[in-house]
Amino acid sequence: MAAKSSSPKSKKSKKKQANDNREFVAEAEEILERMFEDLLDLQEQRHGADEVDPDLVNRIFRSAHSLKGLAGMFGLDGIGEVAHHLEDILDGLRLGRLSVDSPAIALLDDGVSLLAKLTTGLDRSDASSTENAQATQAFIAQIEQAIQAPSPRISDELDELQIDPSLLRALTEYEEHRLRENIRRGRHITLVDSIFEIANFEEGLSELSGAVREVGEVVSILPSPGDVPESQIRFSLLVATEIDSDQLRDRLDYPNTTVQSVQREADSKDRSEDEAGAEPKSANPEGGDTASDTGPEAPDIGSLRSISDTVRVDVRKLDELMNLVGELVIQRNAIAGLATRLSTGAHTARIGAELTKTDKMLDRKLKELQSSVLDVRMVPLRQIFEKLSRVVRRLSRDLTKEVELDFKGADTELDKCIVEQLVDPLVHIVRNALDHALEPQEEREAAGKPGKGVIRIEAFQRGNHVVIEVEDDGRGMNLEAIRAKALASGLIGEDETLSRGEILNLVFEPGLSTAEGVSSTSGRGVGMDIVRSNLAEMGGMVDLATVEGRGTTVTITLPITLAIIKALFVRVGPERFAIPLNSVLETMALPPDEIGHSEGREIMNLRGEPLLLRRLCEEFEIVGAGRDENQFVVVLGMGEQRLGLLVDRLEGQQDAVIKPIKGPVQKIKGISGATELGDGTAILVIDVSAIVGDAVRRREAA
């Protein structure tokens, strides 16, 4: 179908289809990767025992489900159909209709491989599509056959329960399966009834179910309004535990809570049906009506609800929204100007004051709008961490190096655009750590270290920046080897004396980083120049620290968002620039006689520390900027590095929306974009990391 529709269409829509496909492939690859990993785990579990972790099966099920939805969105019927059939198998497994050793389960691996093949096939020509379509149909037939294969009918364990049948009817198919499974495994089934205040029942309920989970499984949570005051709500928890209900009762010491075993004791099996039914009824007086009232809600528990909590939004739409908000901010600035002008006029002072007041309100609301829109763009780093952990797992298998991965600060949030661009540099750094920095087990043990290496990744917020540290306990870097290599490749001269930091920084030089010699002896540095330039594009910095024999720490510093910033406006000669305030440490006036010189460079004394100075007018070749009058110094900080930027005048702070510059000249060093003022002028925004990095490199080169 896809092949047929693509041929008569115009070039443009074909291109669009290709774009769409690329979008699909990007997302599908991530899902498939997760499925492969989970299937591996599933296999391991199947060999170990005849029961598999229900959470794991649910996770694979959800992956197949997401993939089906995604394929549907992009109109990729073949992939959707395969995913749908995988869903059937997994659903069967989830609900106990299929046993773990069913032939259908063995087909899961083939199914995911087929999906991967179909997905990569999207990038290529139509030549393989008929072949793939045939493979798809054959596979689907195979699944259908396997699912139909009779699986042994499980005897009805539910007969063992003394429980209100209406409560059982309220269970979802999945919950019922879990109940049977638990009975089969000889666990104790108990009904826990509890009454909570409506105002805070969620906390109470989660506390109670948390306590149960410590000793077993909560099969189902069913609300049962019953005979309680209006301000209260009653819940019944059907739980399965290894301990019996008396022991459970001792553990669950909560007010208004009753714990009742619903299992027939072996010796009381001959109790009359009436008597048996009476017990749960006393706990749940209107059980019959209750269950059907709440029926439509109850089955959701434990189902797929979690995927529908979020809405996927194209980042471009958010960008548009952000642009609109930005323009509103600019318009607001214009209104503020008008208000000031009116306030100074003799006849318009009153109306001006009114307008100023209204403008203040507008400003406040706009700020709220701005931060809400910004907030939507923020995503936790957890996404990247999950990806990294998959990379590490695969790589540690390939290299047969055992490694412990330790994440901290997965909830730290960053702008979506930054997170996207951060993946590659981080993967690179982590791969380096695993591949080169961590020694093989024998070598580690010989050095008195634990055989298993540790990579610790920690993210935290520091002011307007997010810091990510990647630390390993590997062999560290050999500074002499780096120096020797830099010398050999002509990066530095024979008689140069370099500080430790300067030698380490050589790792980021393109000439050095691609060299094999260093990566095999000192164990690091492949492509670190790319890492640095990728991060610099986002206005970020990367620093290194290493102790030979003990390990290396790579520290990444990034701005939280790229879109709206507070900026310091400065003037140099006739030109104005904006400097992102999050990289400005302080500003001060600097009389000419306080500028000192050292080896031909200008420096100043900043509270006892020498601070390297750069003149913005020289940096950007601005004519007409005063050299002799009093200058102002803007102290910039990026990562560990400092630089004093000399400007003619400071012109205050303002919010600025950074826009990319469109046109034939892309990427000007030292400029990260431009912002528009209320009067329609464009002001260039300075790329602090480029200016600081450049100045520091120049000092090292000198």
């Binding site: 642009n323 930005g326 323009e327 030109e575 940096e619 950007f620 070749e621 601005i622 826009k659 990319p660 510059i661 469109k662 046109g663 034939p664 000249v665 892309q666 000007i668 060093k669 030292g670 400029i671 974009g673 431009a674 912002t675 528009e676 003022l677 009067d679 329609g680 002028t681 464009a682 002001i683 260039l684």
Partner: protein, 179 residues
């Protein structure tokens, strides 16, 4: 910043808008094919003056035409790049087309205009020309490939009476293909 001249200039969105309308109507007619008789296809060109000669760019490649306005100089950029301008929320580079084509440069005058070219996403660009004269509808048969001009950005020539108009390929003129 506040002299009357500048204010007048930055208020130029009205004529710009008019040109855009003209351009759009022309483009509609062109794509609708209402005026085509047999193989006699019509082309819609925006004709502009540069160093005393007539040049043209296809209407479909032009987004709008605005008056000159104060530009912000872009450091560390080639000399044919005049700077950037803010245009309804976008920041767009403005190219001095005279310099870019190797013609003698000249100060902008009252008749100077900035032609804003469409472009994929990041390629929206303004080009400064001496004047914009008209939308010229020309039959395909008066358009000839520009022979001997292969290396330049003039791809075709069309005749209007006894005068010739050089048709520019903006992508080539701006050097996008070698970026």
């Amino acid at each position: 910043m506040s002299d009357p001249e500048t204010n007048l200039e930055s208020d130029a969105s009205v004529p710009g808008q008019k040109w855009e309308d003209v351009a759009r109507t022309a483009a509609d007619v062109f794509s609708g094919g209402g005026d085509t008789h047999g193989t006699d296809l019509l082309r819609e060109l925006i004709v502009f003056g540069l160093d005393g000669s007539a040049y043209a760019i296809a209407v479909e490649q032009i987004r709008e035409i605005v008056r000159t306005r104060p530009l912000t100089r872009l450091p560390r950029s080639p000399d044919w790049l005049l700077g950037v301008m803010a245009l309804r929320g976008e920041v767009v580079e403005v190219v001095d087309l005279r310099r870019r084509l190797g013609l003698p440069s000249a100060e902008p005058s009252r008749s100077s205009r900035i032609i804003v070219l469409h472009g994929d996403a990041e390629r929206v660009t303004g080009i400064l020309v001496d004047s914009v004269s008209e939308v010229y509808r020309v039959s395909e048969k008066f358009v000839r490939p520009a022979q001997g001009f292969e290396a330049t950005s003039v791809t075709e020539i069309c005749s209007r009476g006894d005068e010739f108009i050089s048709i520019l390929d903006p992508d080539r003129a701006l050097g996008f293909q070698d970026v």
